[in-house]
Symmetry: C4
Subunit: 273 residues, 4 copies
């Protein structure tokens, strides 16, 4: 993949689109220079996250990740309509609280950006959101009687389970199943509630986190949990994590996100096989 984006990685660039957006929203920013630095770092992580999610099989041509704008917390940053493996810093655009691009030159932005915008609105603790169609999770989105629950110690963030969003209840029985407007985004966010992951029937899932690295961790481990639970259920009765265990392991893992991130990032860049 390095050949595609390698020449840009690690280079601090002046991004015209995001830069312009930032200038406009500067007045709303509470932290000035620090926020600008945090913003640059968030964009770095976001670009790497697109590559990581692609390389780990969480997204393919479709799927996306966003980060709450450190310089303007009611806004968020997202790649415009580019496939995840091709995303560069130049593709990152700023969206406002209603998921409208701040810049008129932003180009095409993903149809389902409302997933992100509405979760940021309802959940001030969430700073990053991943949306994925990973095949391993899909069976749990269509099964009527098999909830996805935390089954292993890297998946405590799932707690007592992930709620299921049935779009038919909000868009009727003939929709294109996409969360492509504010009302559907708000319904999804409400279904998510105080959880970290929401399943979307026949479509995929959305994972939230306190940072880009945590959202990526939660997305990757949601797929792992689904694979393990799928096989475990075949063997008969199983023991899930207790609520207290789920909380305790989450705390431990959140303290070591950089450890996994370094491996994922180096695999995505090709530095590590």
């Amino acid at each position: 993949m390095r050949s595609v984006w390698g020449t840009l990685s690690g280079v601090v660039m002046v991004l015209s689109l995001v830069g312009a957006a930032y200038a406009q929203s500067d007045a709303h920013s509470s932290s000035g220079a620090n926020a600008a630095v945090a913003r640059e770092k968030a964009i770095d992580d976001l670009v790497t996250a697109y590559h990581v999610l692609y390389h780990e099989g969480i997204v393919d041509a479709f799927g996306h990740i966003t980060v709450r704008d450190p310089a303007n917390p009611s806004h968020y940053l997202m790649a415009k309509s580019v496939q995840p493996p091709f995303v560069t810093r130049a593709d990152i655009v700023e969206l406002d609280a209603d998921s409208n691009p701040v810049s008129k030159d932003a180009g095409h932005v993903p149809l389902e950006r409302f997933i992100h915008g509405e979760i940021y609105r309802l959940r001030p603790d969430v700073n990053s959101v991943v949306h994925s169609h990973a095949a391993a999770v899909l069976p749990f989105t269509v099964a009527k009687d098999a909830p996805l629950r935390a089954i292993c110690h890297t998946c405590g963030f799932l707690g007592a389970g992930a709620p299921l969003f049935e779009i038919r209840e909000y868009a009727g029985d003939g929709s294109n199943m996409l969360v492509q407007n504010k009302a559907l985004g708000a319904a999804l966010a409400k279904t998510l509630g105080q959880n970290k992951v929401v399943l979307m029937r026949g479509h995929g899932f959305t994972a939230a986190g306190g940072s880009v690295k945590e959202a990526v961790y939660n997305a990757i481990n949601t797929v792992l949990d689904a694979k393990v639970e799928m096989d475990a259920l075949r063997l008969g009765n199983v023991t899930y994590l207790s609520d207290a265990e789920a909380a305790a392991v989450s705390k431990t893992h959140n303290a070591s996100l950089d450890f996994s991130w370094e491996v994922w990032a180096k695999r995505a860049s090709g530095e590590l096989r």
Copy 2:
């Protein structure tokens, strides 16, 4: 794979076999220069499609894809008997409405070309056909009580399901299971009916589309649907897409075929890991 065909890719070549065939069929062509341009483009896509289908695990040494000839819509274009990863523009030959090679110098052509020819005859809306033996779909071709149905939002093209072609009904109980003549091709096309995919018992499946990119999309996502449904059925009762949902998501996805295609093509060429 690049080492095998890389030196030819992107080069506009004068292809003697196809060129000769085109000259012969020119009188039947309705659109002259435009059709010739469309034909060159169709051949480009077709060669890339062979590589994509190999790289995505849809075909291996066997399996094929064809495209209706833009310059002569009763004819179609196909690689002669070459394994998919090795196909170049020089391997593309023209077949007539009865699946006979137009050029006497075409060399060996696939035994099962009648699958393609007879679908083009019956289905004017179909402009490209993929035939695959992908292992993930085979269980659904031999299971007596588990139909393959649209279970996720990238698989709306499956609609209410894919009919099953039981070759014993047409070739008896001791055939070599290949669709190797017009009568069997016609029976298969009739079983396909107005659907996009037909399952072939113990053999594989055939997917149709309005373009090369759509046929490739449908083939790749048929395999995805089979994998997801296989796992979902283990979990108990499942919710499939409604007919209206299937139609709506198909429309959405057909509008974004280039998005997936670019990722597949770059993976096949080695430009993207």
Copy 3:
């Protein structure tokens, strides 16, 4: 893999061990110069086959393939105790009808060579034998009520099924499960009977063929059949190939072995991804 053996591939070498063995057995040879040419070709195919079987996941550090010696049909050729990916022409040794190395300098030879020797003794139609521990087949070797049968059209060679060799019946209940002497080899060969594949309980399987390419084809497609049948049985009742279909598709596929072989060989050499 190329770095390991690439410098040797395609080079016609004078092999001291095999050469010496060949000189000794020359008197028994019926066809002189032609047999010598056939022998060179068989050794070429055999070395490629070790690499193909490794690359396709049929063997790993353990597992082997042999070929009946064209210059002395009661003998056979095999790599000495070297892991499959590292085999070169220099590792090929000749074994006599009792599976003893013809040359005293042959070095270590595989413990389970008797699998091969005893099948050649009983089955004059067999010219190549593969022994594999592939994980996908193992479940069918330990399941008491689920026979492996031909379920798809590339697996006709399985016919009505593969018999199961239970070594406890011959070596008692505390053996090391290896076919490491003539008596066990003969028992295995008798269990194989007139079939192409024999399952070995908790151990693996052995596939026979009329040529190196056919034996490799049968081994690779035994693994495919096991994967497909495993999933198909989950879906309920299934339709297997009829005996007549199995025979007919086998005939067709044996006519096109080179087609698959070229893809496998180029994947093993790294020429094709």
Copy 4:
């Protein structure tokens, strides 16, 4: 991976941390110069083992392997807190019988080192321990009625099964599930008993061996056994290895550990695909 550690591999280095530790513990060493040579060899194997376990999918960012210190058998050697693919000789530190780093400059050491220390204390026959979270084994750690047992001839070390460590019995129902102190390590070691593998509920497993190569072999084949048993149980009643078979195949395989090791090591270094 070569680019990450390649420049260090095979180079005999003076390691300041381990060297200092060795000087301190020299008085306890029974074998002087020989032990020093054995120690260098053990460290070589240990570093390779980290890379092998990563490459074979047994560990990822987390998981570890240790070796009993040949120069001081009550101590053991382990990589400090570095992800397995990045481990070099410079990361290896010495831990005492209570799992405290011998050097004050050792840096961070893994939280779960007590798994290793307490097994070395209870089991003088064990000289190497692997701790893994491999997904294929997890279902057997949470299933209440499906014990993991030796099902194939490369897995005799599993004997009649692997006991299950339920951490709730020792740390209560709200722990972070980590074996992060001596008491939990001792409880795990006691559960392991005289077996080679212990399952850890919702967490992973730990495998022991008489050498680094044997522990790696046991870990890799525990994953294989889990995959095979998972599929076999779907097919109905199965035949496991008898106790006598398990013992006999273990003896055979322990005599050929170098054979598998060479393949794994070359795959990890990139010398072999």
